[in-house]
Amino acid sequence: MAERLEFLLRNAFPDADELCVEDRTGGGDHFQVTVASPSFDGLSLLDQHRRVNEALTEPLRDGTIHELRIKTRGTST
């Protein structure tokens, strides 16, 4: 399942410097995702998380993701 999420994020952020999906419990439904991308430069934290949520709309909606932790940053700082 982590692979599916990584695939979706990779498509949404093809230029990401860091892209990591961790299955926090091994159960395939609690995830920690970390994305560092130049496309976040100049965006507020809220908008950065919004972009990640948008990329994961499907698995969030269909219940695949029970819990999602997000960490994002731009690359300019």
Binding site: L45, L46, H49, R50, N53, T57, L60, R61, E67, L68, R69, I70, K71
Partner: protein
């Protein structure tokens, strides 16, 4: 918009700090809601909580209003701050306290009380 939607909007717009969470501060049903509540308490925020669990419609209407897909959701003065990760991150950096001061005034910590609103009945405790 339904009556429920109106009550949700009313909480967002009129409570200084609104936290939509799973469970109540007395009985927290999810670790993320716990993280958001802790960060708000540490910053001394006057938190009004809404439990989204009693009816799935609460979650659906809330996400329609906010455009945010997950729970918890934190609002300060009607504005979405974010979910647990953002609230926690802002809390750790001290930015959350700065935001609260800016939006609610310097003395926001004084006499900060917690309230619980039931959006199904409209009751506020």
């Amino acid at each position: 918009m339904s009556e429920l939607g109106d009550r949700i909007k009313d909480v967002i717009e009129n409570e200084p700090v609104a936290l939509f969470m799973k469970g109540t501060p007395q009985f927290i049903m999810c670790g993320n809601s716990d993280r958001a509540l802790r960060a708000l308490r540490e910053a001394g925020a006057p938190v009004t909580t809404v439990d989204v669990l009693p009816d799935a419609a609460i979650r659906q209407e809330l996400s329609e209003v906010s455009g945010w897909p997950t729970i918890p959701q934190v609002f300060v003065k009607g504005e979405l701050v974010g979910g647990a990760d953002i609230t926690e991150e802002l809390g750790e950096s001290g930015e959350l306290a700065r935001l609260l001061e800016e939006k609610l005034g310097e003395g926001y910590r004084d006499g900060a009380e917690e309230h619980v609103v039931d959006v199904l009945s409209g009751a506020r405790a």
